[in-house]
């Protein structure tokens, strides 16, 4: 039997890095909401963090194998939840993403499904480890990911739906997909994507506009391109050292859209400059590196897969969010992990970290 591991084996280093990042997040949310009606968001974020930390410790005490065991059930329930969202969800700004649980609590299943998906994919590829992936295996993996993805897309929430994709990629990569298979897949996806883009009907007008404005941000400065332009102005005007806390004119003057969630990195870069932004990137690098180390040290395959799933999701979100903020990617509405304001995002991250901690604590078990 596995012996219970003590908190001595807890990854304090990783926790320190994550808490440092969270501190930066809270401070920047405070600054970005200073003159707005959202000025309590820093405090609220702090609250989410505390809850997140508690959950993280609780989850770290659960043997991740139990989680992998129940993954199919949880996955099934998660998919049902997504269906429920489409059926009874609350429509906010044209999208059904939340289920109102009453008492001011809004539940967004799509974030949780991400976690369940990571567990499910880990479990799936664990079963396949050691042999070459057949097209059937790959097809099943796609189905596993694409069902919830399609449901989330239907909400519509392109951003969250996209974050499911890196879980699949990580699974396929670690699961042993061959180069030939990758090439065929990429080619197929390109053809599909091109067809969808040309038909133009699959994308909502606002999504189409986002892509158009990404290609030419100056075409409609007050419309879709406005966000990208203002974000670039915020980041660029920050210069090397930034304008200082609470002094970002783009952020404080409300030129930067939602500077406490999706565009928080732009706000941070405006106020703390290239140096500050580089510091945040460095923190991400350290956190991700630490996670990968833990994945290496995991005692078994599902452990590695789970952590790498988390790495894939975080890396993807960092790439897409910061890429958007600096004008390298279109606006997708993906929050920046550990930085953006929002309970669901925080809880996902800390639950995921809780599982990572558990995996780490059990690394010597055999």
């Amino acid at each position: 039997m596995r012996r219970f591991s003590s908190f001595r084996d807890f990854d304090w280093m990783l926790l320190t890095l994550v808490l440092l990042m969270s501190l930066i997040s809270v401070l920047e949310i405070k600054s970005a909401t200073l003159h707005t009606k959202f000025h309590g968001f820093g405090q609220k974020q702090l609250g989410f963090l505390v809850v997140g930390l508690v959950l993280m410790f609780l989850v770290s005490m659960i043997d991740y194998h139990r989680l992998v065991d129940i993954a199919p059930w949880a996955y099934g329930i998660g998919v049902l939840g997504l269906v429920a969202v489409l059926a009874v969800g609350q429509k906010v700004l044209g999208a059904r993403r939340w289920i109102n649980l009453g008492g001011g609590v809004h539940f967004q299943p799509s974030e949780w499904v991400k976690l369940l998906l990571i567990l499910m994919v880990a479990r799936y590829f664990w079963g396949l480890i050691g042999r070459e992936l057949s097209w059937a295996d790959i097809g099943k993996a796609f189905a596993l990911v694409c069902v919830p993805m399609a449901l989330v897309l239907k909400q519509p929430d392109l951003g969250t739906a996209l974050t499911y994709f890196p879980v699949l990629i990580a699974g396929l990569f670690l699961g042993g997909i061959r180069v030939k298979q990758v090439l065929i897949l990429v080619l197929g996806l390109c053809v599909l994507g091109l067809g969808a883009y040309l038909s133009g009907k699959r994308l909502k007008p606002y999504q189409q506009a986002r892509i158009n404005s990404f290609i030419d941000p100056g075409s409609d400065p007050k419309g879709a391109g406005y966000q990208i332009l203002q974000s670039k102005i915020a980041v660029g005007s920050g210069g090397l050292w930034g304008k200082g806390t609470n002094k970002g004119t783009q952020t404080q003057g409300d030129f930067l859209p939602i500077p406490y969630t999706d565009f928080i990195f732009a706000a941070f870069c405006e106020e703390h400059g290239f140096i500050g932004g580089l510091g945040v990137l460095l923190l991400y690098f350290l956190i991700l590196t630490r996670l990968i180390q833990n994945a290496q040290q995991a005692s078994d395959v599902p452990g590695t897969f789970i952590i790498m799933g988390v790495v894939a999701v975080i890396l993807f979100q960092v790439l897409v969010n910061i890429g958007m903020v600096v004008g390298l990617m279109p606006v997708t509405g993906i929050p920046l992990p550990l930085m953006s304001y929002g309970g669901s995002s925080i809880l996902f991250t800390f639950l995921a970290l809780g599982i990572v901690m558990n995996i780490r604590m059990r690394r010597f078990v055999n």
Binding site: H35, H65, V68, D69, P72, R123, W126, G127, I129, G130, A170, F173, L174, K222, Q230, K232, I233, A234, V235, G236, S237, G238, G239, L240, T249, Q250, Q252, G253, D254, F255, C269, G273, F274, G277, L278, L281, Y284, F285, L288, T289, I292, A295, Q296, D300, V301, P302, T304, F305, M308, V311, L315, V318, L319, I322, G323, V326, G327, L328
Partner: protein, 672 residues
Amino acid sequence: MEPTPERRIGREEKVATGKLHATQYLVALVLLLLATGMWRLQVLGAEGYKQLAEANRIRKTAILAPRGKIFDREGRILVDNYPSVECFLLRDQVKDLKADLPLIGKGLHMQEQDILAVLKKYQLEPKYEAIPLKQDITPDEQAFIEAHRNELPELETRDVQRRLYPRDGFAAHLIGYVGEVSEQDLNSPKFEFYEPGDVVGKSGVEEMYDALLRGTDGSRDVIVNSHGKEVGQLGQQMAKPGTDLRLTIDLDLQTVAERAMEGKNGALVAMDPHTGEILAMVSRPTFDPNQFAVRLTRSYWSQIVSDPDHPLMNKAIQAQLAPGSTFKIIMSLAGLEEGVAQAMRVNCAGGGTFFGHFFGCDKHHGMVDINHAIPWSCDTFYYTLAEKLGIDTIAKYATEVGLSQKTGIDLPDEASGTMPSTAWKLKTQHEKWYAGEVISVGIGQGAVQVTPVQLARALSGIASGGVLKRPHVVFANEVPPQMESALISSYPGSGDRTIPLSPENWETITDAMADALGPGGTAGAAHLEGIDFAGKTGTAQVVSHSAGATSLGAGKERANAWFVGMSPRRNPDIVVAVLWEHGGWGAGSAPVAAQVVNAFITKQRKRAGNLRLADGPQPGDSPTQDSQPAPRPAKTVATERNESPVMDGVRTASTGPHAKPGVTTSSPIPQP
């Protein structure tokens, strides 16, 4: 359910380390890519983006300099400013103007095409500059803008200062009015530094002294948020208020003059011959400058420009008309200075034949010498004198006293009049001067044309022994010297000058002019008891050029009634010129001048503390110390704190220019 994978023994239970290393490299690569993106914006593009950020948040707004106020010579206010609200359009806040147009038009009571016209006018200005959409908006229009802040973020209200002029066109021609600088003006070099929407003086003192009155607009750099809401201020340059102007006008005298000219068509100029200061200036009909201060309504404009009596014309300086018999003053001067008139005796038998034509006189004056020719205004005498002098001698003296040239008064668009001569005729009509033409010139008919202010200046010079002054409405020492010298040098040959006159000659003339207001004189009815009042009437035919025609004509063909007078007769303190268009006999204008002179002398005496009551009651005069011939209005507001009646009017009109125009002046004559 499948068996859990952990129970499948014998499988390789590790993921290849190489793949995890590859992921590590991928992480580094992704973060490096993002860092490159940041570098591009924050290091390479920093300066450009900093400028864009500044442009985003900083809005320059003008602080409008309050225009200088205008006072009368005693510091009583003539033109004030009042706070008003103006609606501006922020073009950088516009999302879809076309869609908003109907709502804006409805709320601001504007035609859609008018809004578009405003936009077109400012289309070349930078987008971030707000453009004035409607001036002097009403409280309900203001409420409309407030209520539609969210739907129409492009509308903004600003507090501005507007001009408040005296009611009923009081001194309107003299003061002038302001308006938005026109597109044509903007293209001229004079308006090089003006911008569309700037308010400039359009006529009168407002135009002439615009540079002083306007001051310098300041500016404010404000920090705005993305909604255009002001959230802070960076710095500001205060506006330099316009300079207050003190006019030479005497409000009391102006009031008397305005009332005396009420209902008449013409002009009045009262001036101090010692200095050239204009004490009163009236032109009739008048207009309401308040209508111009705010956007002019089309109907008022068309009413003004289509009026055959030219309400916008300042007739005191712009009406060029035959002076009629008032010209005989200049004739007499020429005759006496040439030594011809002293011994001249002419037998007036109701006219005389010159150059084969009969020229009539309105009476049989019998034997006339210079001392009687003036008070009786005997045409026959002056026909004879003109024949003896010849046109060029007459022209020489007329030009000496300032005819056919601008007086140099500090008001825009002064007319110069005409003095015929042989050279003049050759030049303008390319014809030889016919000697016979001089006869009608002798009585101020023919081609002679003068303006009231020219006549006033000429008489001022003659009655002051040849010392001519430049008429002016603003104290010369109260404006910057370079402005004053520029003003003077713009009228060569005018301004201050002294011509040598022998004392006995101008004394003869002035004595004879005093007789004109005595028994038997042409203006005997305007005689002011106890006041040394001298003058000369003039009845100038409007249509018929046959000099000496005795009929006055009727309506628009009725003769123009002139009068020039002064008090006292030598080195006078006041000279008054009155033009009553189509007023008939010149004697009709004499009482108008008499009222002004009387008011002036009365005030002068009161001020000197040695008031002498006018001896003997005058017709219609109330038995009070007030000896003004003007009938006192029933409603008299005695102003004790030296407040002017105009001030009173100003206060009444402080509901703004919305006050109904056209109410006859009921302002009382103040008791000094």
